[in-house]
């Protein structure tokens, strides 16, 4: 059988296609039916509605086909009358380009003003302000180029559309012009690079101010949660080792390191305003991304590698609520790196408060070290209230207070 025959034998092919489709649909349907035996669903209306849309689409196709035929008839009659071809498609397309340009420009304006107003509020951190400055400069420059080139592109398309009596202008090159539009972008980009480079370095190469030491907070990511560890009174987040991870020591904190004894667990991130904070980022399982968009902060958390991001929050949550005019406003920590099934819901609330509020809050947080862990690490058990199984909240807090006092005494 030759290919020609094979293809002309359309009915065969069509039948085969229909058969395959039908068979597989049937198979699926059977599976679905098996699954749905417990809860029979009336699929009738659903199929009908799907069929409805399919028919609607076919109707549209038919309509387009009819319009196409009508155009063809028109063109043929023009041709038989000896007139020029019916529709001047070059003109039609040229005009559509102009319309597209005008509507598009309005659309861009609309997007910038409507959707542009829905984006993140001003940066709530020191370095974020610099990033926002860069953002604005880049936005303005690229918008100018975007609009200008599109105006040129689409108006050229209209002005220089095909016309019978015209001839294109033979203009193969112009070295001056080419040099100009090599040098200008190069110049503009150099400025952007320099500014970006300086901003980038200022973010990642911080000179530590001995009077204003950053608060260290460790964040450990795992599917699909963030574990936050505050350093406790000594201000140092102690060592940990993934090999020590057990069901009661989910971060693998090594309590033989004294710095760990006062480390606190927190179920939200609370930051004092205007104080530098240094996040120590680690991951237990896969790569996640520590993303706090309002502070212009993002860094991946990588298993086997510790990374650091230091910044200074400048606006408290309460101030931001006023600024954004949104009583429900809250800072957020999200995961921005695909990390598994629940990637879309891996969050932690973040609050920025005054120094005083922070100090009040932080002493209330429990330590990681519990009596169970003390047993494991052969550390002296705590006396009295905490010795009783510390399930109740109040007891836990007592322990914290105690530990804090102990730490302070040290």
């Amino acid at each position: 059988m030759s290919l020609k025959k094979l293809i002309s034998n359309k009915t065969m092919a069509a039948l085969a296609v229909i058969f395959t489709a039908f068979a597989s649909t049937n198979a699926f349907a059977q599976e679905a039916a098996a699954a749905a035996t417990a809860k029979p669903v009336d699929m009738g209306p659903i199929y009908k509605s799907t069929l409805f849309y399919v028919l609607l689409f076919l109707l549209l196709c038919l309509f387009i086909a009819i319009v196409g035929k009508a155009m063809k008839v028109y063109e043929l009659t023009r041709e038989s009358e000896g007139k020029s071809e019916g529709i001047n498609w070059d003109l039609v397309n040229g005009v559509i380009f102009v319309v597209f340009l005008l509507v598009g420009l309005y659309g861009v304006y609309w997007e910038y003003t409507v959707h542009g107003n829905m984006i993140l509020p001003e940066a709530a951190s020191e370095h974020g302000k610099k990033i926002d400055e860069m953002f604005n400069i880049t936005l303005i420059l690229t918008t100018i180029v975007f609009i200008a080139t599109h105006i040129v592109l689409f108006t050229f398309a209209y002005i220089y559309r095909h016309q019978k009596d015209k001839k294109a202008y033979y203009y193969p090159h112009n070295n001056v012009l080419e040099r100009v539009w090599t040098v200008i972008p190069a110049f503009v980009l150099t400025i952007l690079v320099l500014m970006g480079f300086i901003t980038w370095r200022s973010i990642f190469y911080k000179i530590e101010d001995p009077k204003n030491k950053p608060l260290s907070i460790e964040v450990t990511s795992s599917q699909f949660q963030w574990d936050v560890r505050y350093p406790g009174a000594d201000g140092i987040v102690g060592l940990k080792n993934y090999k020590l991870i057990t069901s009661i020591n989910n971060l693998g904190i090594d309590f033989n390191d004294k710095n760990n004894l006062d480390d606190q667990v927190a179920d939200e991130i609370v930051l004092p305003v205007n104080k530098p904070v240094r996040f120590i980022l680690t991951s237990k399982d896969v790569i996640h991304s520590f993303y706090m968009p309002h502070f212009r902060v993002q860094l991946n958390t990588v298993p086997g590698m510790t990374s650091y991001f230091e910044f200074t929050p400048t606006i408290t949550t309460a101030e931001m609520k006023a600024k954004t005019n949104d009583p429900n406003f809250n800072y957020l920590l999200l995961c921005a790196k695909i990390c598994g099934t629940n990637h879309y819901n891996m969050q932690k609330p973040v609050r920025v408060v005054s120094q005083k509020e922070y100090e009040e809050w932080v002493v209330k947080q429990a330590t990681y070290l519990t009596n169970d862990l003390r047993k494991t690490f052969k550390l002296p058990l705590l006396a009295d209230p905490a010795e009783k199984p510390a399930a109740a909240d109040s007891t836990a807090k007592d322990t914290t207070a105690k530990t804090n006092q102990l730490a302070l005494k040290k």
Partner: protein, 629 residues
Amino acid sequence: MSTISLQDTHHHDNHDDHGHEHHQDTFLTKYVFSQDHKMIAKQFLITGIIMAVIAMGLSILFRLQLAWPDKSFPILETFLGKWAEGGRIRPDFYLALVTIHGTIMVFFVLTAGLSGTFSNLLIPLQVGARDMASPFLNMLSYWFFFTACVIMMGSFFIQTGPASAGWTVYPPLSAIPKAIPGSGLGMTMWLISMVLFVASSLMGGINYVSTILNMRTKGMDLWKMPLTIWAFFLTAILGILSFPVLVAGVVLLVFDRSFGTSFYLSDIVFGTQILPNEGGSPILWQHLFWFLGHPEVYIVIMPAMGISSEIISVNSRKPIFGYHAMIYSLIGITVLSFIVWGHHMFVTGMNPLLGGVFMITTLIIAVPSAVKTFNWLATLWRGNIRFTPAMLFAIGMVSFFISGGLTGIWLGNAALDINLHDTYFVVAHFHLVMGSAAIFGMLAGVYHWFPRMFGRLMDKKLGYLHFWITFTCAYLVFFPLHFLGLDGVPRRYYAFTEFAFMEKWLTVNVLVTWSAIIAGLAQVAFLFNFFYSIFKGKKSSQNPWGANTLEWTAPVERLHGNWPGEIPTVYRWPYDYSKPGAEEDFIPQTVPFSQTMSSNLPHDFEGNTEAEKIQAEWELNNKPAKDTE
């Protein structure tokens, strides 16, 4: 299988010319295991189109989920079974959808479908060769690609589902089956498919390079090659140099997954289960992946640039502006694309010093891109633009390239990338510059060279319909997504329902999804046009667009060996359109200067004093005649 004797007769005419063995083509050797570059190009194209339709379908599926996260679509359960229980796509299947959508689009459609089709079709035809340097390798290239496609699609039919760690398959997520169901057998199939794919594109690339370097016809020096060929040439070099690195990365990942090594894994704990791997680094994968991955995006866009340059020049009836600058900018992009991969990794926690360096190289690469854009605009200036569907798509390509390229300046800036990384801004950026610009370049190429492939023309009115709907909808889909990114909405989120601040974007998602559906339906116009025209389209003349390049000097019948007699000789560059003094508005490359005395310019002779003397003499003799004209 029997022979197609009727269509085959011409073979006997031209066999003598290139010493081809006498044999009869069977269905199998002509259509399946063909070694003819034109047939292989069609195989690549049609496979690419099928894969594009599949990948587009996948995108519609996850767009449905994003627009109506709370709504149930029982029809989905009918087709997807347990992956859409109750008519709602499951989160892990959602991730599988985005992963496979990305993989198919980037590798199978925009690399194989684009380079595979047009490099195969145009390289021998435009440089004047009978076929590729190694037709057999060329055939293998297609069949490796086909196998890769089959294996990739096969992963939809296994219990744990396809790979779902994103198209960049970052370990440990992709390395540990426990991390996500898709990292089981589905990931293994992804890796096997990728190895086959890389083998395919290497075989293709080596062929393209050797054909261009060794098999150009008489007179076709490098500076007379059309920009398409330059683009394919540099693309192939990029592929040859960067794809092996991906294979190295993939092999190491296979070792980690199946043989217990620790190239990418270290210090990993699931719950309380401590994995034994030590000493590896997940960052290593990212370096290896993006060492290919970034050149890859230029592998995707450069052929589209070459195709658009050619089409814009032909249909503006004007020489491409700054031919040399176009080539140098392509070379610049090629070289620079190897040293910018780190801009995908600004926030991985790698040394910030590296981030600074990669930012510099990244923003430098914008310069050649800008030059190309301005040159396209200058080509349109004072042209006589014929809006064929191919031309429309080429102009659309320029528009998308500008829009998508400009946001690249934001993302290439390490400081700005901190907040934009892995958000919808990135999605919008690369969909404009790859998903739209490169696809438009590909579609432009299909409309333009369809007569060269099938001897028939596609319907132009359906082409217009296809273009305008797709062009509008693509902007409606991708433009608003920038703003989601600027609001800090991360990509690859299954639903926007868990965060209060994302809820305001739900209506935008509905708009985007509807636009995507309409754009998807518009492709029906293309598919119908394409397949209908193969059999029933209007017969094409030999040179339907009045183009200069060599492929239009070959007969419409598409002979095996391309030209019936001797391969034509090339005398001039391919862009002599609307040359003053010439009778017609195009002068094919095969026309010697001696036949166009009235239009020759001093520049044409490139310092050949003999020719200049002859021209001067002629001008002296013909001056009065010229004046009267």
